[in-house]
């Protein structure tokens, strides 16, 4: 927890900076603790204890701006640090657009940091022994012998618990706290197939509350990922329907989110420039930012500037409804400010040609595979890029061919290529089978007419 002494230090930084030449200032104090336990082949391999504390200082001096940070929080050191920082800001160029956000826009209710129910009280009761037991519960190494088609080479399991605290204060009177716990488990398994080839697979789970974390299936899923790759075959290059698993689907949405950032638009490196209120994506595609949902990963009451988040549509029925515009870019571009970036994106369920608004229909991987009938199911991305100016992309993929809605065989060394806007305009379905632990709530996706190379 951030102590009274530490909040006093943050306020001292504001007072000292404004008393020595800063017109305005914001301080963000971050404090985190993490305990991690790693097992190799079922035996403890690494124990890590981390405890961090740092201050970020945002200074506005004579129409100029600079950012500074330190983990040296002794008062005398901070005084000289702030004086040097002010001196440096004065050397930089003037930019009248640099200022703190309108106080009316800042969050007023982030008083304890626990308003969003992201902190698990039971964290304080855990100790080294309970954490080690959790780590051991992930491992299946001693219980798994392999089979005719593969042998187990290695298993790495990790369990960690962490608590993150953030306290932000500015010279206009804003004060906000955010606190969250995180429980995390991970397993990676490497196998050797009968033909001598090695394959690895991994899986992870995460939860804000300890009771919501299920460690028991993690290694089994990792093993399934590894073993599922045995028997890979090349599939002929061509245009296929593509289904993308929910745990990797965010990879195809993230270029759109980046392109909606005002920073990219202002620098002319966004393929969504001039797209506000225009229908760029297919009717029925709706992306929400549900930032204020209690107990859910990614939820937060305020952004890094202290601006209050709100639940809103980013893309509504295919039309772009919001850019991410901070105070600086708002003034620079002459457009209304919003929030600095996305908090908790939720892509609403969609099936081409169907109206899902009236019913709570489940749109799962199986639903989508059956709808598509034939194509390639992508279960992982391997490298690649999306050109931020044009939206042209190329990604390596791994996954399976499927026919009549059933998986037939794993595919090898395939790439998908295209333009990200065109891809989304070929959207066939978006599932509502969200992973509960993921910040990005993106279900299974399906697209038609995707170019695959092999």
């Amino acid at each position: 927890m951030i102590t009274v002494n530490e909040t006093d230090i943050a306020r001292f930084c504001i007072e000292y900076a404004t008393a020595h030449g800063a017109d305005a200032a914001r301080v963000s104090l971050n404090k985190s603790v993490m305990d991690g336990y790693t097992l190799l082949n079922g035996e403890l391999d690494k124990v890590t204890h981390s405890a961090d504390r740092s201050i970020y200082l945002y200074l506005y001096v004579d129409g100029r701006y600079g950012t500074f940070s330190t983990n040296r929080l002794e008062k005398d050191e901070l005084e000289s640090f702030i004086m040097k920082a002010i001196e440096m800001v004065r050397m930089l160029g003037e930019d009248e657009c640099r200022c703190l956000p309108d106080p009316e826009r800042t969050e007023k209710n982030a008083k304890t940091g626990r308003e969003l129910d992201l902190y698990d009280e039971s964290y304080e009761n855990n100790n080294a022994q309970t954490r080690l037991e959790k780590a051991k519960s992930i491992s299946i190494f001693s219980k798994t012998k392999g089979c005719d088609s593969y042998s187990l080479i290695s298993e790495e399991c990790e369990y960690s618990e962490s608590v993150d605290n953030n306290y932000v204060v500015d010279s206009q009177g804003f004060e906000g706290r955010h606190t969250e716990t995180m429980y995390y488990c991970f397993a990676e398994i490497t196998i050797k197939a009968a033909d001598g080839n090695k394959y690895s697979g991994f899986w992870w789970e995460a939860a804000q509350k300890e009771q919501d974390l299920d460690c028991s299936k993690c290694a089994v899923k990792a093993l399934g990922k590894a073993a599922g790759q045995i028997g890979q075959k090349k599939r002929r290059s061509g245009n296929y329907k593509m289904v993308v698993e929910n745990n990797v689907a965010s990879r195809l949405l993230s270029p759109i989110v980046s392109a909606l950032n005002a920073s990219a638009i202002q620098q002319k490196v966004s393929f969504l420039e001039d797209s506000l209120d225009k229908k760029v994506f297919p009717e029925g595609m709706t992306l929400m930012d549900l930032a204020r949902t209690p107990g859910k990963s990614g939820s937060r009451l305020f952004d890094t500037e202290g601006v209050a988040t709100k639940d809103c549509a980013i893309i509504k029925n295919g039309a772009v409804r919001q850019y991410f515009v901070n105070t600086y870019l708002s003034k620079k571009m002459g457009i209304a400010p919003t929030v600095e970036d996305l908090s908790r994106p939720v892509l609403m369920p969609y099936i081409q040609g169907e109206d899902l608004s009236a019913e709570e229909k489940e749109v799962s991987l199986q639903t989508v595979l059956h709808k598509c009938a034939n194509g390639i199911l992508v279960t992982g991305f391997n490298g690649g890029n999306c050109n931020p100016s044009t939206g042209d992309f190329s990604f390596g993929i791994e996954g399976f061919a499927f026919s009549k809605g059933k998986i037939t065989h794993p595919v090898r060394e395939m790439l998908i290529t295209g333009n990200i806007v065109d891809l989304w305009n070929n959207l066939l379905a978006a599932g509502n089978d969200y992973r509960p632990s993921a910040r990005w709530q993106i279900g299974t996706l399906a697209f038609q007419n995707v170019s695959f190379s092999a």
Binding site: L44, A51, T70, L92, G383, T390, E413
Partner: protein, 472 residues
């Protein structure tokens, strides 16, 4: 070079206190313990829209304490160097030995003293005003090169890191590492189409890096090939011969092969090379190196982050796998000397085997002849991110620009495509190695668990066949 006294004073500890902390770390019967003291100052300036309107500096200070029992690691750190806090961290790390079976002998190393990056002008001695004219001149120079440029962004960043390492073998190793980087990006607009290009340089050197030569190099780089970029199309995808241009194609070597040579992956049996030591893994004449001794190179270090002196390590010599890249743990496990590859992001992380400057040595072929020998293929000369699956050896990397090769000649420019293949297969399929090794001095950063500065290099090479993404 600073004396040991400078570092002891900086971190406010005595040698006796170092020994006390190590003794605490070993108190539960561990085999080895080390302390990693770090003080880093970072500085950055950003020029955007004609104004250097953003900048700052950052300070990081602390000590990491590692305890080894066999190959098992206990790790904790403190953000101050008060004895009470260091002892507490040492106690936390020492817990790894409780109830842990097995032990291992960790031996002292015979270090060669290097001075690979003497600073003529220490970054810490200069304020922002010393670099503002350079940033503005660089922006002006770039705009003057091409009327299609509508935006230029220039970033300057530097860091100076003081390190002091002490271990249970009594070895005290100290050094100061500078790192200076300048990167530029330019946005070009032509007939309603937008293209962006980037260029960067990064060296372990002082502020003498900043000058007219660097300015010209970056301006040349960021406008080079822009006409081809506007003309470029995606080729038809599929299997084809690939010629990698000299320099940045070293990222292929880093991703596709280099990670699989890191000894931790081999010790755990995960790497595709874990049972291939001493075997011919690629054609004779191919030498693959990871080198920590290239003067002023971004990936170099006088010592690694375990206090082992830098060396030039041949992983592949004349086509034969001769060495993995070792930290102290894997070296002890394999019964070999550490190779100076124990690296970490900062004091918050334990060291693990990491690459430094990874490159293939020059061969005999003339690069023009290599291209002339290709009937149908692709020549690639600008890359960005890549990725590898260690167990399978499957890799991808993204080609920002290149050309089709048709009947031995470079023809249509291509861009924004991915190349995918299998590392060991690609190594085995090398048909020609050029005589033009070039180290790429861009801001390459490797992200294996932690971020560390690296560099890469390559002569022109031809690979028989890889899968190229493209239109159908």
């Amino acid at each position: 070079m600073n004396t040991d006294r400078y570092y002891l004073d900086l971190f406010k500890v005595s040698r006796t206190q170092l020994e006390q902390v190590v003794a605490t770390a070993l108190s539960h019967g561990s085999d080895y313990a080390d302390l990693y003291f770090e003080h880093t100052t970072f500085f950055n300036l950003l020029l955007k829209d004609g104004v250097v309107s953003s900048g700052g500096f950052h300070t990081d200070y602390g000590v990491g304490i590692r305890v080894l029992k066999g190959e098992k690691t206990g790790y904790a750190y403190s953000e101050n160097t008060e004895m009470a806090d260091m002892i507490k961290a040492a106690q936390a790390a020492s817990a790894i030995a409780l109830g842990t079976e097995g032990n291992r002998t960790y031996c002292p190393v015979e270090n060669t003293r290097h001075d690979l990056y003497p600073m003529e002008r220490n970054w810490r001695d200069y304020g922002a005003d010393a670099f503002l004219p350079f940033l503005k001149d660089l922006e002006k120079e770039i705009f003057s090169r091409d009327s299609r440029i509508v935006k230029v962004v220039v970033r300057l960043s530097d860091s100076v890191t003081d390190l002091m390492m002490f271990n249970s073998l009594g070895e005290l190793t100290c050094e100061t590492r500078p790192l200076g980087s300048v990167s530029v990006s330019a946005v070009f607009v032509q007939d309603g189409k937008t293209e962006n290009k980037n260029a960067s340089r990064s060296f372990r050197m002082g502020a003498e890096l900043i000058g007219p030569a660097l300015l010209k190099e970056l301006a040349d780089d960021v406008v080079r090939g822009i006409d081809a970029r506007f003309e470029a199309r995606r080729p038809k995808g599929g299997q084809m011969s690939v010629v990698m241009g000299a320099g940045a194609s070293g990222i292929l070597l880093h991703e596709a092969m280099g990670h699989a040579f890191e000894a931790d992956f081999n010790r755990k049996g995960q790497s595709i090379f874990s049972d291939k030591m001493g075997q011919q893994i690629c054609p004779k004449g191919v030498n693959v190196v990871d080198d920590g001794t290239v003067a002023f190179n971004r990936g170099s270090g006088n010592y690694d982050d375990e206090g082992v002196a830098a060396e030039k390590t041949y992983m592949v010599k004349d086509g034969v796998l001769t060495s993995y890249l070792h930290d102290r743990i894997s070296a002890s496990w394999y019964g070999v000397k550490p190779t100076g590859n124990g690296r970490r992001e900062n004091f918050r992380y334990n060291p693990i085997p990491r690459m430094r400057a990874t490159y293939m040595e020059s061969g005999n072929a003339d690069p023009k002849d290599i291209i002339a020998d290709v009937k149908q293929g692709i020549y690639v000369d600008e890359f960005s991110n890549g990725q590898v699956k260690i167990g399978e050896g499957d890799f991808t990397f993204f080609v920002k620009s290149g050309y089709l090769i048709e009947d031995g000649r470079l023809t249509m420019p291509v861009k924004d495509i991915n190349i995918i293949g299998n590392g060991p297969q690609a190594l085995a399929d090398i048909l020609a190695v050029g005589n033009d090794l070039k180290i790429d001095n861009g801001t390459w950063t490797c992200g294996k668990e932690q971020s560390v500065a690296v560099s890469c290099g390559m002569p022109t090479i031809m690979v028989r066949s890889l899968t190229v993404g493209g239109e159908q």
